[in-house]
Structure formats: C-alpha cells, structure tokens
C-alpha cells in the first residue's frame, strides 16, 4: 500500500520549504530590492493563472482566449468580500480566496455549459468575447467601483507575509493539479485532447469532462485574481484586458503545454524578465520581445529538443541509480503471441 508520506514527497517538501526560506531570508535582510520583493508575489499569481489555463489548453486541448475573465471575476468577488466585511486579516484572506474561487468556478461552469459544442477557432472567439464582456460588465456595476475600480482592499502587512501566503496557495494548487492530472479524470481529459472520438467509444462523457476542466481551471484563476487583489489593493477593469489572456497563453505555450513544470518555469521567466531588464529602461520591452521570439524559436528547434531529451534521460538515469529500487514484478505473459 502506497502512502502519501514517502521519501520522494519528503524531499519535494524539503525543496519547497528551502526555496521559501531562501527567498524569505533575502527579503528579511533587505538584500532583495523592494521591486524584486513585489515580483515574488506577482510570480505566484501568474504561476497559478498559467497552470489553470494549461489545464484547458495543454491538457484538454481547447483554445481559450478569455482567461482574464475568470481572473477578474475571482478578483472582484474576493476583493469585494474583503472590502465589505470586517474580519481579522487571515480569515478574510482565506474566505476571500474561497469566495473568489467559487464565484469564478460558477461562472466557468455556466460558460463551459454554453460553449460545449464549439471547438477550435469558434471557441477561441467566443471566449475572447466573453473576456471583454466581463470587463465591460464590472465597469458598469457601481458596487464594484465602475471604471475607477475597486479601491481599498486590505493589503498584506508586509511583502514577506504576502509572498508566504501566496507561496502556500501556489504549492497547494500545484499539488492539486498534479493529483488531478494523475487521476482517472486527468487521464480522460488528456485522452480527449489526443482523440475525442475514441474517448466516447470507451464510454467517457466528453461534455462532462470539459465542464469539469473549465470549472477547476476557473476556480484556480479566480483564486489567482484574489491574490492579485490583495497585492495591488485596487482592482481596475483595465487590469483584465485580453492582453493578459494572451500573455498567459504565451506562458502556457512556452512552457510546453500539458506540463506543470514547464508552466511554472515559463511564467517565472516571463514575469521576471521585464523586471530584471529594468536597468535597460528604454530598450526593456524590445529586449523582452526579442527574448520571447528567441525562446519560441529555440524551444521547437529539433536539435535543442533532442538535447533536452538526452539531458532529461541522463537526469532520470542518475535518479534511478541514486534511488535504486527493487524492480516491480512483471505479470506473467498469458498471451499466445510470441
């Protein structure tokens, strides 16, 4: 019987804690500049956004261009809750996170129900329109601040607290997504991407799976929106333009679609890049754009792909020799073929 507590998972946890400790230490000692400190929080909610979109684009294989909408819905729902209630910070934070996630998930559920028959370009355009619709919608709701935005959401007491809380949420999300993709549901979803007709032929309801993925994805995007709200303390409709949806899509594609590790790395790099290039002020966006093009080109370069595959195989071998484990027993071949 396998258990959740094994050596592999303990190592993983240790790595996660170590990363947190190093960053927190750099923050506390002031070695990290203020803008870099903010960057760590920004990276957290971008990682969540990318992971959530990767569920739809990378695993399910549907193109969505309106992901900013779920992010907005979650942000506004969680932000409004934080603004209009008077609880201590931590309960406010947790409840806001859940409310933002749930409201976004409900919207995601309803949207996915209505676009089940659409695929490819059509789906992309409808999700694009939906993104713009949500943005225009929050503009006209007075309770949400209209075009001026929702102002005065309680902020983190310090950047370290902000980073730590965001980091915990991201870790939980990564675990949940990893578990999902390695469950029977995740396998069914990935199978839909590869061949939808064959999935129906083995008795799996594609529509149900699509609704499930959209709901989970928008739940996570909604929570990312809440983290964003607490970080920025004001939410403005212009924070949620389709530019953001595209930016996140770039991260998903660059991360290699359907890869948790890739999504995380791509979003860290792309979010950090413009910030790290701040010194080159005038040429910042230019360098960013060129770097993006270069990454896209090299990523699919066959030689590089082969090289990374070899590298991956080498790492795997190394791991194997380190954790030399008894080879699992092979079931006896009952076949006639041979």
């Amino acid at each position: 019987m396998k258990s959740i507590i094994n050596r592999k998972n303990i190592t993983r946890l240790a790595v996660a804690v170590a990363i947190w400790a190093v960053i927190a230490l750099l923050m506390a000692t002031g070695i990290m500049s203020r803008s870099l400190q903010s960057l760590t929080i920004k990276i957290c909610y971008y990682v969540m956004l990318t992971l959530s979109l990767d569920l739809i684009v990378g695993y399910l294989g549907d193109l969505s261009l309106g992901h900013a909408a779920f992010y907005a819905v979650g942000g506004y729902a969680g932000g409004a809750f934080a603004l209009y209630t008077n609880l201590p910070f931590i309960p406010t934070f947790i409840l806001a996170l859940l409310i933002g996630g749930v409201v976004a998930a409900i919207v995601g559920f309803l949207i996915s129900k209505s676009i089940l028959k659409l695929r490819g370009d059509y789906l992309a355009i409808v999700t694009l329109a939906f993104g713009e619709f949500i943005r225009s919608f929050v503009k006209i709701i007075r309770g949400l601040g209209g075009t001026k935005g929702l102002i005065g959401i309680e902020s983190y007491s310090s950047r370290i607290v902000g980073f730590s809380l965001s980091y915990i949420v991201v870790l939980l999300v990564i675990i949940a997504i990893y578990n999902f993709t390695h469950s029977r549901y995740g396998r069914a979803v990935t199978a839909i991407r590869d061949n939808a007709i064959a999935v129906e032929s083995v008795g799996i309801d594609i529509k149900k799976m699509k609704v499930l993925v959209f709901t989970i994805s928008s739940f996570i995007a909604g929570m990312a929106g809440v983290l964003f709200g607490f970080y920025k303390t004001t939410l403005n409709p212009s924070d949620f333009t389709y530019n953001l949806s595209i930016e996140v899509l770039v991260m998903v594609v660059l991360g290699g679609m359907g890869s948790i590790r890739g999504s995380v790395i791509a979003s860290v790099v792309i979010v950090a890049l413009p910030e790290l290039l701040r010194g080159a002020s005038d040429y910042r966006m230019l360098i960013y754009a060129v770097a993006l093009i270069a990454m896209m080109m090299f990523k699919s370069n066959p030689k590089l792909v082969k090289y990374t595959e070899r590298l991956g195989a080498a790492v795997d071998n190394l791991k194997k020799s380190l954790t030399r484990k008894a080879v699992s027993d092979k079931p006896s071949s009952g076949g006639v073929s041979k």
Partner: protein, 253 residues
Amino acid sequence: MSLLKVQNLGITFGGLKAVDNLSLEIEKNELYGLIGPNGAGKTTVFNMLTGVYKPTTGEFFLNGENLTGKSSIEINRKGIARTFQNIRLFGKMTVADNVMVGLYNQMHYNLVDGLLRSPKYFADEKEFSKRADELLAVFDLYDDRDTLASNLPYGKQRKLEIARALATSPKLLLLDEPAAGMNPNETAELMKTIRFVREKFDMTILLIEHDMKLVMGICERVTVLNFGTELAAGKTSVALNNPQVIKAYLGDD
C-alpha cells in the same frame, strides 16, 4: 437468445442509401465476419452499432435490450466496444495510460479522492494498473507500457486498440479491419490473438476484414455487403463461394 440482433437496419445520407435493410444475429462467443468490397457500408454498420450514426430505419438489440439511437457513451457502457479502421489511439499518452482510460468506468474513486489522494485512490489505481498490465501482457505489449502510443510500430498500435476496447469489459467486440496494413506474419499472429481473446474473455466478436485468409481462418459465419445491401450470409465457406459474391469482388467473366 442471440447476443446481438440486428433488424432491418438502414441509414440514408441525403438521397444515398448507405446501408439498406440489414439483418443479422450473432450468438454468444461467436466470431462473425462482415465483409464486402470498398464502400459497401461495413464501417457505416459499425458506426450505427456504436452510436456514431443514428439509423434511419430498423433496430438492434444487445441481449434483448434495444440500443437503437443511444449515444456512443451509453452503448459502450451497455457492452459494445470497438476499434477503428484508421487507428485512434491517445498518441501522446503512454501505452499503459491508453488502457487505463479504457478502464475509467470501472474505477470507483471520485474527484475528491483523486485530488486528495485518499486510500481509495491508491487502492483503485493499484488494482486497475495491475489489470491494465495483465491486458497488455495478453497482447505482448507489457514491455512497451511506458512508451508513447504514437511511437509504437503499426502492428502493436492495432493490438493496443484492441486491448483498450477490451478494457471496457464489453460483451461484444467490434474490430474494424484489424489486419489492415499488416504483413502475413503479423496477420497470422493477430489471428491467434483474436482466437485467444475469444477464449480467455469469453468474447463475442464481429469483425470487418478485407484479408480473406483471416476471414476464412477465424470467422464461423459472415455477412457479405455490397452497395449497402446484403449479398450473402451464412457459413463462411458457403457464403464466399456464392457466385454473386465472387462477381462483386472480381467482376464479371
């Protein structure tokens, strides 16, 4: 009572009668062939029996239950599984995962179990990955279990499709040209495998095939289709020697 009963099944696309008035009965544990020249409507019959197309006329029953017009999903759950003429595997998933997708409906754990990795999750996953391995071993695919399905050689892809279909534990297995693109050695091996599957799983099999050697080798009875209508039916050797059938395949003179 026969396992599959097809009564006057027919479908029209626009003005074209793709299949007209087809009737057949397959007994339990029988190996039945559906043959005919290209464009005769064989795959269309499969598509109707698996809910991809809704028949325009007629009905079909599995174990006496009317499944006409049901969706692909329901029909599979009732016990009809199939393979495809143009292989449809989950190419970017491993061989083992392809079979695990086929086992989806037999696993019990729910979404929360999956997200939190409850003991139920581990128990189920362990049990069914063992089941998948056993199925793979039957088709001599165990050593390829971690290979991506799209990287398998052609013959093995065909076998994997059969393994995936069997994973849904059907009562009736529909094989659409299982030997297409195989060399004589592979075909001979496939014949053995099909016979073995029938015995081991007590399976009833309906297959479409062009390879006459395979059909004569393993099918007890056949139905010959031409232009959507039944040309001949009955014991394989008799039906294949029917002058009309020979004419349909080879032409006049």
